[in-house]
């Protein structure tokens, strides 16, 4: 989970080390964030590169590539719009004061939204 994240493309020439590395093992971004991408599940629809606000994915091969994994802000747009579930990321409420409050009071981290009981993020 340390070191530079590897951007593996399943479109690399067959027989190369990088193509062999393309498997069902998800590519992750190291310990930088919780973004995890499984190239084996990618169907090259391109949605991840459309919805990402920071250009984390590029779709210029047979499958999508993680080109700027550290730029991921964990908004969850890619996970939401990937039709095959090839991308996962932990995209909850991340506002510092909410997380600090949760840590101090020992509560589970708050989530806000119409489906939850919490009124506020904090």
């Amino acid at each position: 989970m340390s070191g530079e994240p590897v951007s593996v493309s399943c479109g690399d020439p067959v027989g190369t080390a990088r193509a062999r590395a393309c498997s069902s093992v998800p590519v992750d971004t190291g310990s930088v964030n919780t973004l995890r991408y499984s190239p084996a599940l990618c169907v090259n629809c391109g949605m991840c590169s459309i919805v990402c606000p920071h250009g984390v994915f590029a779709v210029d091969g047979r499958v999508a590539r993680l080109v700027r994994p550290k730029a991921c802000m964990e908004c969850g747009a890619c996970q939401r719009n990937c039709p095959t579930g090839a991308i996962t990321v932990d995209s909850g409420v991340g506002c510092a004061s909410a997380m600090i409050y949760a840590a101090l009071t020992g509560r589970k981290e708050p989530i806000c939204g119409p489906d939850t009981e919490s009124e506020c993020c904090c």
Binding site: I50, M73, A77, G94, C95, C112, P114
Partner: protein, 381 residues
């Protein structure tokens, strides 16, 4: 038409002050983003969700592209956090210009800044605007919370009988709605294809020409103006605590201590957003400590260079008060700014909290204790 002709609803819910600037949801959360209670929320949805009963179609409201002085005033108030609940338009379908059944349909949130940004960007275009009920919260924040989401979109399509209004099946959504919308599910449930347009409404005319977004249109940046525009609301939130702290310090420790806390807060709230890209270090807490150090320095210097009559131990004590007490204030405010920043991640913020909040608390705590001790010793002679 002014904002008031769009039947601004006043509800008792918090609203994000910023409608057009990209705001973080990954570090998520809009620093001052709150939602209505689930009870109020479901009641509202139930109220509006009643399918129109009778013949004919539900009302399509007219819209134009003119942003009036009243609208600008409304935006100004929103940015200052005034009447945070009141910056909404009625959800539903709007006709911009003179749309026909083949005119495009754009989707937005019912926050005035979002709605006004969209309709003004579409000047000269005949189009439909579908406004979702996000309780007066901007697109990106609402998407993160799920209110600008698949369910609300499908619900609003049905409630407005959109299938009968347009003969095509395409919706243009703002890209920043994506965290809340599952495009393939919208298609399955409503038949409408979701097309994600550019991040910024201002790019819509260029986008519509080619019906394609450039990579630049799909990227969120955090330029100076976008940072600047977040300062008023942060100032409003910290103003009262700052004044109280300054008053207390003035009474027990003197004017310089009061000035110190004001300086530390203003540095964190005003200077930090401005200087953000130029402050060294990657983590906001560290940037904040550095900025806070610069702010504390003149106070430390003033204390050290004080008239030689004052006891050196006392002077050292006060210097330590400024050195230990001011930077954590700025650093804490800087850490909280991650919630309004569109590139910080939740994981990163969590790591920062675990690493630096204890340091901030420790330094600040010692500073407070020292302040009390030194002030008491001065008062008691």
């Amino acid at each position: 038409m002014s904002a008031s002709t769009y039947e601004v609803i006043e509800e008792n819910a918090c609203a994000m002050p910023d409608g057009t600037s990209p705001l973080s949801i990954g570090s998520a959360g809009c620093a001052s983003c709150c939602g209505t209670s689930s009870v109020a929320c479901s009641a509202e949805i139930a109220q509006e969700d009643v399918a129109w009963p009778g013949p004919g179609r539900p009302q399509v409201r007219p819209a134009d592209s003119i942003v009036t002085l009243a609208d600008h005033w409304d935006h100004f108030l929103a940015r200052w956090g005034v009447n945070r609940t009141g910056h909404r338009v009625e959800p539903g379908l709007y006709a911009l210009g003179d749309p026909a059944p083949d005119s495009p349909v754009f989707v937005t949130a019912n926050y005035t800044l979002s709605f006004d940004a969209l309709r003004s960007a579409l000047a000269g275009t005949d189009a439909y605007i579908l406004v979702l009920n996000t309780f007066g919260i901007n697109v990106w924040c609402a998407a993160g919370k799920g209110t600008f989401g698949t369910d609300e979109l499908v619900r609003r399509i049905e409630a407005t009988a959109l299938h009968e209004v347009v003969d095509h099946r395409v919706l243009v959504l703002p890209q920043l709605g994506a965290p809340g919308v599952v495009a393939h599910e919208v298609k399955k449930r409503s038949g409408f294809t979701v097309e994600y347009g550019p991040v910024r409404a201002a790019d819509l005319p260029a986008y519509l020409d080619a019906r394609q977004a450039t990579p630049e249109m799909r990227r969120v940046y955090f330029p100076f103006r976008d940072r600047l525009i977040l300062i008023p609301i942060e100032l409003v939130h910290t103003f009262v605590p700052m004044v109280i702290a300054a008053l207390v310090l003035f009474l027990i420790a003197g004017p310089m201590a009061a000035a110190g806390v004001v300086a530390a807060v203003l540095a964190g709230v005003v200077l930090f957003p401005i200087l953000l890209p130029w402050l060294p270090a990657h983590q906001f807490s560290v940037k904040g400590f550095i900025l806070g150090g610069f702010v504390a320095f003149p106070f430390v210097l003033a204390t050290v260079l004080r008239a030689p009559g004052a006891a050196p131990l006392l002077r050292a004590g006060w210097a330590l008060v400024y050195l230990l007490g001011l930077p954590p204030v700025t650093a804490y405010l800087a850490l909280n700014f991650t919630g309004a920043t569109p590139f910080t991640s939740r994981s990163g913020v969590r790591r920062e909290i675990l690493t630096y909040v204890p340091v901030m608390a420790g330094m600040f705590g010692i500073g407070v204790i020292l302040t009390v001790v030194l002030s008491l010793s001065r008062l008691l002679g």
